[in-house]
């Protein structure tokens, strides 16, 4: 089947999608966007979290066809301009690196998107709010302490930038 979807601001058409494929598979294997991760593929780990029409969702639980006509924003689309060395990271991404919240990094894209959503909604989240918001994202390396640090840091940076 053909899927028309806007990904990271760019309208795209994807052909030859098998009906059983998830949005995660389509992003990773057909659109060259493997930033969203495939750790459990059953909605338990949050590694595949993307914005779907502005709301965080596990892209492994969304059928590719359900993305028809909708807007998807992935971890690759959070930074300003192009990602990587030339682009400018989002403050949440910067904070994850600076706070030491990244070890193996496989959970990081999902946590970055989820944290990005949290501080967009709650500019100054309490620890309890951070824990609640990130409860669906598994990390096996960090024990979450530095992830909490990263979200606190990102929130502070965002507040300073808008002050």
């Amino acid at each position: 089947m053909r899927v028309n979807v806007t990904v990271n601001g760019a309208p795209q058409t994807v052909d030859d999608v098998w009906e059983g494929e998830s949005l995660l598979y389509m992003l990773r294997e057909r659109m060259g966007l493997p930033g969203s991760k495939n750790a459990c593929e059953q909605g338990e780990c949050g590694s595949c979290t993307v914005y779907l029409d502005g709301v965080p969702a596990c892209s492994c639980l969304v059928a590719a066809g359900q993305a028809e006509g909708r807007e998807v924003r992935t971890v690759e689309g959070l930074a300003e301009g192009s990602t990587g060395a030339d682009g400018r990271l989002d403050p949440v991404q910067e904070a994850f690196v600076e706070a030491g919240a990244v070890q193996c990094g496989f959970c990081t894209p999902g946590l970055v998107v989820q944290s990005h959503d949290l501080i967009s909604r709650v500019p100054d989240p309490s620890d309890a709010e951070i824990r609640e918001a990130l409860a669906g994202n598994l990390c096996r390396c960090t024990g979450y302490e530095k992830i909490l640090d990263a979200v606190r840091l990102a929130a502070r940076r965002r507040a300073e930038a808008s002050a």
């Binding site: 098998w18 059983g20 494929e21 990773r28 294997e29 060259g32 493997p34 930033g35 969203s36 991760k37 495939n38 750790a39 459990c40 593929e41 059953q42 338990e44 780990c45 590694s47 992935t74 971890v75 690759e76 959070l78 990602t83 990587g84 060395a85 682009g87 990271l89 991404q93 910067e94 994850f96 690196v97 600076e98 030491g100 990244v102 070890q103 193996c104 990094g105 496989f106 959970c107 990081t108 894209p109 309890a128 951070i130 824990r131 609640e132 990130l134 409860a135 669906g136 994202n137 598994l138 990390c139 096996r140 390396c141 960090t142 024990g143 979450y144 302490e145 530095k146 992830i147 909490l148």
Partner: protein, 767 residues
């Protein structure tokens, strides 16, 4: 052959930060932006997808395999069985005859690989697996490790017998002193099967190479040991297999054994096309070995003051169907079986046995975790019997520098256990229970209590872990360092085969190069087999071993640089300071860039740790360990004693790391290890019945979330080990040992329950 898209590249580490600083991860930007190339992200034009047919039975004979219908399915390019293995039919991490590449005439555990498919799409491959017809003769599985111990011949799962290894340890004379002690305490303890649960699934890409060999991009812990196993099975020479480390999504021991490496290679060689394999989470639970479950029987005798007189210990580890690293896990359980305590009379018997349960092998803590839960539980029991505090009983029996372990090995480096116990005891306790926010209570937002029935408990645990490989193994590492001027600035290129699994070795290698060479710009080459063996990213050893190799290579490069400067400037009192060659007498002579000119200096060095010995097979005596490390935890918990729900309130740790190379990374290691110990204490177990895994998913196998892991207070000590580079002490594993018994002790403190098994389940508390 074209280069695959998104393969691992060089990582630039510009800027500052030597040994002891906390520069940021050079791969951090790639990881937060989704650009880092993990093994499951690899992609290549025209690639096929591989899939594995696995046994549904824990024990069965294979009467026939019919691949015809699968092979005839549209989109299927190859279906392979054991008959198609090009070379050696078996492989193993420690023994090449350990396990079949693909099952031949029988299977010995659920999930054992039987056949492979390569197809255009992963779903076509999965459906083709269903078309492979197998005629089975199902047999009764052997699932009771203690029964195997009683009848190792009759219940032998392997032709080599039922017992993988029996390692005794004998000190003094337990029987002679048993009747004379004031206090005897005893207990039986059990540890369930823990899974590494790394998030990045087993994945990789195999590409037929122009020279008839194979390019292999995989996530592994030890490239060179993989090679030794892969090449013979593929019928290739080791130099025909070109291995490159793909991005590793966590490891924790679970990537020491091979998973898809040989299988993807077989499919690529057969089809002549690139083949990608990537397990899903269900398959991952069958695709790697787990932590050994243990049954342990302990008896301690002591004076009424709590001074240990004897220890009588039996540890039975279920290794499952194949050997994997069970021999060495059993060795660790034996040599570390009573932990960091001085005991004059010891009898330990540690056994690793074969069953038809899931194969077990390496996981963070490696045989020391199971024993630590038992011996720390015993210390609490002894404290209670003697009427002294848990910390005091540990203090009275603690090892120190100069103490002998159960193996007779004398601890030559600092072992500040007494100081660590003092410091953990002096740490402030968290505030008392506040029921104002229900999220802080056991059960949390499930609203199972508003504070009624909730009791606080405090517990302690300390663990002793060996660092680097033990028992005579020379697990050396190799580093190649190239210094040259690039873009007008001296730049060091560091090349090793060591696996960056998330622990931060990539950062530490750059720090060492900056410290030793005085440069700012460092580039880390991808790990591959174009450089010598680095050993495994296991046993908390890479800062020590590959750190040591990078240091040695940098020192050699610096020596060469200074020799050139000496020849040119006529001084021999030279050093590198702040990017310049400096003479003690004449001051700054020239920037490093000027001394180098257009030349590059490239040198390779190996680093070996001090030799160790095997354990004596009868007495268990020997200087078997390279280095020893201690971590102590204090756990504070709130327990809903009616429902059996536990909320861990705080975990405090004191760990001696010899020298802090990078505080940010180090804290992350201690936090992460502590959290995995929490998982074993309260949540994590692969449930097996009749040889079948009942919970192979993250829905049913629970690992700690951010709601489960409490704030962690760390106190990191630096008592240098004179034998180790920079005085460092490996740090990744020790916290995984001690957090488990500390948490269980805290739950006992709150509930008064015996709690002899981990993970502790609600019914153990409320039942």
């Amino acid at each position: 052959m074209a280069t695959p898209i998104r393969t691992p590249g060089r990582v630039a580490a510009p800027g500052h930060g030597g040994v002891g600083d906390s520069p940021l991860r050079p791969d951090g930007t790639l990881k937060v932006s989704g650009e880092f190339a993990y093994a499951s992200d690899l992609w290549m034009d025209g690639m096929l997808w591989g899939a594995t047919l696995r046994s549904p039975h824990p024990r069965a004979r294979i009467l026939s395999i019919d691949v015809g219908p699968a092979l005839a399915a549209p989109g299927v390019h190859a279906v392979l069985t054991h008959e198609d293995v090009p070379g050696r039919k078996t492989f193993g991490i420690d023994h090449p005859d350990d396990q079949p590449v693909l099952a031949v005439d029988q299977v010995r555990h659920q999930g054992e690989p039987i056949a492979l498919v390569a197809a255009d799409h992963p779903e076509i491959a999965r459906r083709a697996l269903d078309l492979i017809a197998i005629e089975w003769e199902v047999r009764e599985p052997v699932t009771d490790a203690r029964a195997v111990l009683a009848d190792p011949v009759g219940l032998a799962v392997q032709p080599r017998g039922g017992i993988v290894r029996h390692q005794p340890v004998r000190v003094g004379d337990v029987d002679a002193v048993r009747d004379g002690v004031d206090v005897v305490v005893a207990g039986d303890y059990e540890v369930g099967i823990q899974d590494q649960a790394f998030l990045g699934p087993e994945s990789g890409l195999a590409v037929p190479a122009d020279d008839g060999g194979l390019d292999l991009y995989v996530a592994t812990q030890w490239i060179h040991n993989d090679l030794k196993q892969i090449a013979p099975c593929l019928g290739l020479e080791q130099d025909q297999v070109h291995m490159t480390m793909a991005g590793v999504g966590g490891a924790f021991g679970g990537r020491e054994d091979l998973s898809m490496q040989i299988h993807a290679g077989m499919l690529a060689l057969r089809t002549g096309r690139p083949v990608k394999m990537s397990y899903n989470r269900y398959e991952s639970f069958f695709g790697h070995v787990h932590r050994h479950p243990a049954q342990m029987r302990y008896e301690y005798g002591a004076t009424r003051d709590g001074i240990l007189v004897y220890a009588d210990v039996e540890i039975v580890l279920d290794g499952g169907a194949y050997t994997s690293s069970t021999e060495n896990v059993t060795g660790n359980a034996a040599s570390l079986g009573v932990g960091p305590y001085e005991i004059p009379n010891i009898r330990i018997d540690a056994y690793g046995v074969y069953t038809n349960n899931p194969p077990c092998g390496a996981m963070r803590g490696f045989g020391a975790v199971q024993a630590c839960f038992a011996y720390e539980s015993m210390m609490d029991k002894l404290a209670a019997a003697c009427g002294i505090s848990p910390v005091e009983v540990r203090r009275r029996n603690a090892v120190a520098q100069g103490s002998a372990l159960a193996t007779g090995q004398v601890i030559t480096a600092p072992a500040p256990m007494a100081e660590m116990l003092d410091r953990i005891e002096a740490m402030p306790l968290p505030p008392a229970l506040d029921a104002a926010d229900i999220r802080d209570l056991p059960g949390g937002a499930s609203q199972t209590t508003h504070g009624e029935g909730v009791v606080r408990g405090v517990g302690y645990g300390i663990g002793l872990k060996n660092i680097c490989f033990s028992e005579g193994f020379d697990d050396y590492s190799t580093a190649r360092v190239r210094l040259e001027v690039i873009g007008g600035e001296a730049t060091a290129l560091v090349h090793t085969a060591a696996a960056e699994v998330g622990q931060g070795l990539v950062t530490v290698k750059a720090q060492i190069a900056r410290t030793e060479l005085g440069v700012r710009r460092v580039t880390i080459a991808p790990a591959d087999n174009r450089v010598g063996d680095a050993g495994s990213s296991s046993a908390s050893r890479q800062s020590y071993m590959t750190g040591g190799a990078v240091k040695a290579a940098c020192e050699a490069v610096r020596g060469e640089l200074l020799a050139r400067a000496a020849a040119r400037y006529g001084h021999d009192d030279l050093s590198v300071v702040g990017g310049a060659v400096v003479s003690r007498a004449a001051g700054v002579l020239a920037p490093v860039e000027e001394v180098l000119g257009d030349d590059a200096i490239e040198l390779t060095r190996e680093f070996h740790h001090r030799p160790t010995t095997r354990l004596d097979p009868v007495t268990g005596q020997g200087d078997s360990h390279t280095q020893l490390a201690l971590c102590v935890h204090r756990a504070v918990v709130d327990v809903d004693v009616e429902l059996g729900l536990v909320k861990v309130v705080e975990l405090a740790a004191v760990q001696d790391v010899g020298k802090i190379l990078n505080r940010l990374s180090l804290e992350g290691q201690i936090h992460g290890g502590t959290a995995q110990g929490l998982g074993l204490a309260l949540m994590e177990e692969i449930v097996v019945s009749g040889g079948l895994v009942r919970n192979p998913s993250f829905t049913d196998y629970l690992i700690p979330t951010i709601l489960d892991v409490p704030p962690m207070r760390l106190d990191i000590l630096e008592h240098p080990d004179p034998d180790a580079p920079y005085g460092l002490r490996g740090a990744g594993e020790p916290p995984t040992l001690s957090s488990t018994p500390a948490i269980v002790a805290a739950v006992r403190d709150a509930t008064g329950k015996a709690l002899t098994r981990v993970p502790v389940r609600p019914e153990h508390i409320a039942g």
